[in-house]
């Protein structure tokens, strides 16, 4: 009943949002804010970086990237800090946030469950398990975790494989519980996701018990962080993220139909089972790649789509790109906070920052939503 009530409110929201601001303007604002934030974030950190020097380092790096001599070379240490550390983290944080928020938006739309995200479907749990296996079996030394030195980055690949295997297990369970792939019930999928997550979480605890020396590494990986990450991680995750994003944007209209309910979607000629499967694969590629390079980062996939539905409406052709932009922006600033809030150059795991920001914010959203619905 509540599902029906929620669906019936969605068109009203779209109309209400349209009358205030054109949706494309919101996307433009988010893009401009992302660019400005990226430049500002490259100037923030424990290493002294005057704004003029930071800009010179960025312009010089941009020139080198496109094969032009732009700007004057700067102090090598400052250049490493601004470009190789901060800019790489900014890029990776933005991409990860964009992927998590887009994936969350798709999971919520496909499963018509406001609490669905990478956690609910076991994708994060699968990635965490894959990473834990890599750490426990010694495949995750500096080379494997950071993916440096020409190494293939074994840990991210284990995490990605874990994420996709977990989703395969959830889909198989969903099919077993519903009779066929085309008729998978969304309740069965959510339940299967929770079962798989819980099981994998027990397996991670087992691995931690078997090798106490690795507990700290596993715990820190699971808390999520961009520490020690660089452009090699961007290169590793970007292809999966691009394919995932392309897949879900291509099927955004189908997501709108699925959100109306399966019966209505079928009446409108949609092969609901096939659409749902492709959308789930796209969202899993996005969240699997994000978790693989950053660890488990919560709340971005929940808070961003909910906030945007209130502002720009529930149409997925706008909601998906807007979620990507705002998710990127949120994680970019969360990472800046994570790396600069503690004195003495110490860092907080970024997953802790998103949980601290996202938890109370999500409660506010829930409160506003229930008042609006009453």
């Amino acid at each position: 009943m509540t599902g029906k009530a929620r669906d019936s409110r969605a068109p009203g929201r779209i109309l209400r949002a349209n009358t205030l601001w054109p949706q494309s303007l919101w996307i433009g604002i988010i893009c401009a804010a992302s660019l400005a934030s990226a430049v500002i974030a490259c100037g923030l950190g424990s290493f002294p970086s005057p704004p003029a020097e930071t800009l010179r380092a960025l312009v010089h790096a941009l020139g080198q990237a496109i094969g032009l001599h732009m700007g004057q070379p700067v102090d090598p240490a400052l250049s490493v800090v601004v470009v190789d550390i901060r800019l790489a983290r900014v890029a990776l944080a933005w991409l990860t946030g964009a992927s998590l928020a887009t994936a969350g938006c798709v999971f919520q739309g496909v499963l018509r469950n406001p609490l669905a995200d990478a956690f609910t479907l076991g994708v994060s749990g699968g990635a965490a398990f894959g990473a834990s296996v890599a750490i426990i079996f010694g495949l995750a030394g500096g080379a494997a975790i950071s993916g440096l030195g020409g190494s293939t980055g074994i840990l991210p690949l284990f995490a990605l494989a874990g994420a996709l295997l977990a989703l395969a297990a959830v889909l198989a369970l969903g099919r077993a519980g519903s009779g066929s792939m085309g008729n998978m019930r969304r309740e069965t999928l959510v339940l299967a996701g929770i079962v798989v997550s819980t099981f994998l979480s027990a397996l991670i605890s087992l691995l931690k018990s078997l090798d106490e020396e690795s507990v700290a590494s596993i715990v820190f990986w699971i808390m999520g962080s961009f520490q020690g990450r660089g452009f090699e991680h961007v290169r590793l995750a970007l292809p999966y993220m691009a394919v995932g994003l392309g897949l879900v944007l291509w099927r955004a209209r189908e997501l709108d139909l699925l959100a109306l309910g399966e019966g209505q979607a079928r009446l409108l000629g949609l092969d609901a089972g096939r659409s749902r499967l492709w959308l789930l694969i796209g969202a899993s590629l996005l969240s699997g790649a994000a978790v693989a390079v950053s660890g488990v980062i919560g709340f971005v996939g929940l808070v961003v789509p909910h906030l945007l539905r209130m502002v720009i409406g529930a149409g997925h052709r706008t909601l998906l790109p807007a979620s990507a932009g705002l998710g990127g922006l949120l994680l970019l600033w969360s990472d800046v906070l994570a790396r600069s809030i503690l004195p003495g150059g110490a860092e907080l795991p970024v997953g802790v920052v998103t949980a601290l920001i996202g938890g109370p914010f999500f409660c506010l959203l829930l409160g506003r939503n229930s008042q609006g619905g009453a």
Partner: protein, 250 residues
Amino acid sequence: MARTNADRLPASIMRLPVIGTHMRPNIEAVLAQRPDLVLQLAGRKEASLPVEALRKHGLKVAVFHASTFAELFSVIRRVGLLTGSEEQAEVMVRGLEMRLTALDNKLSASADNRTSRPRVFFEVRSPNMLAAGQAGLVGEIIRHAGGVNCVADKAKFARLSEEEVIRLMPEAYLIQRGPMNPAPLPLDKRPRLRAIPAALSGKAWFVDEQKYSRPGPRNVDAAEELAGLLHPEIKSPAPKVPTSKHKDTK
């Protein structure tokens, strides 16, 4: 008569039965050994629970803490007292004290040390970078070896970003290898740290976690070894250093 899973030195103790891990010793396994005395190194809060349980069962448990050489020597003397080997402990401590004094004298006689005490960074774990802070024996080892620990944090460990490591500009970079840091990358395989003085001069070494981070007589070996690396002119009895850029002190 028994050890935890992490106790592996000297090699002769490997044949002894294992009573669990240092974080979670198995009370039943300890009781089964019927020990007259249980020794524990303080540090982890969770490890104090089994101590209470063992005391409840009537066992004598001595918990020690050592974060300076003076404290370490005091611990060796007290263990000697508790095990009836006072004389042996005293001989050992005097030998270690003499070696440290000799090292201090050599360093103060060295012209190089009078002019420069290199800024040393000690990596406990990476890539979730954990460095040795001012408290703890690693700081003492660095001081006695004629260096300065460039991490100012007063705690035993400091969690740092790569950016902060670059800001600290360490002139020597030590990477411990052992259970806490099982497969660290050498410094020349970390492009983001390429601009620090230690990377530019090649003063980066792998060191043995058991020698540097576990309190014991081997910490004096560590101080001598490090002094030889930081101040080669003192001709300290440092082990052979391979000619490759990233030398392994094991």
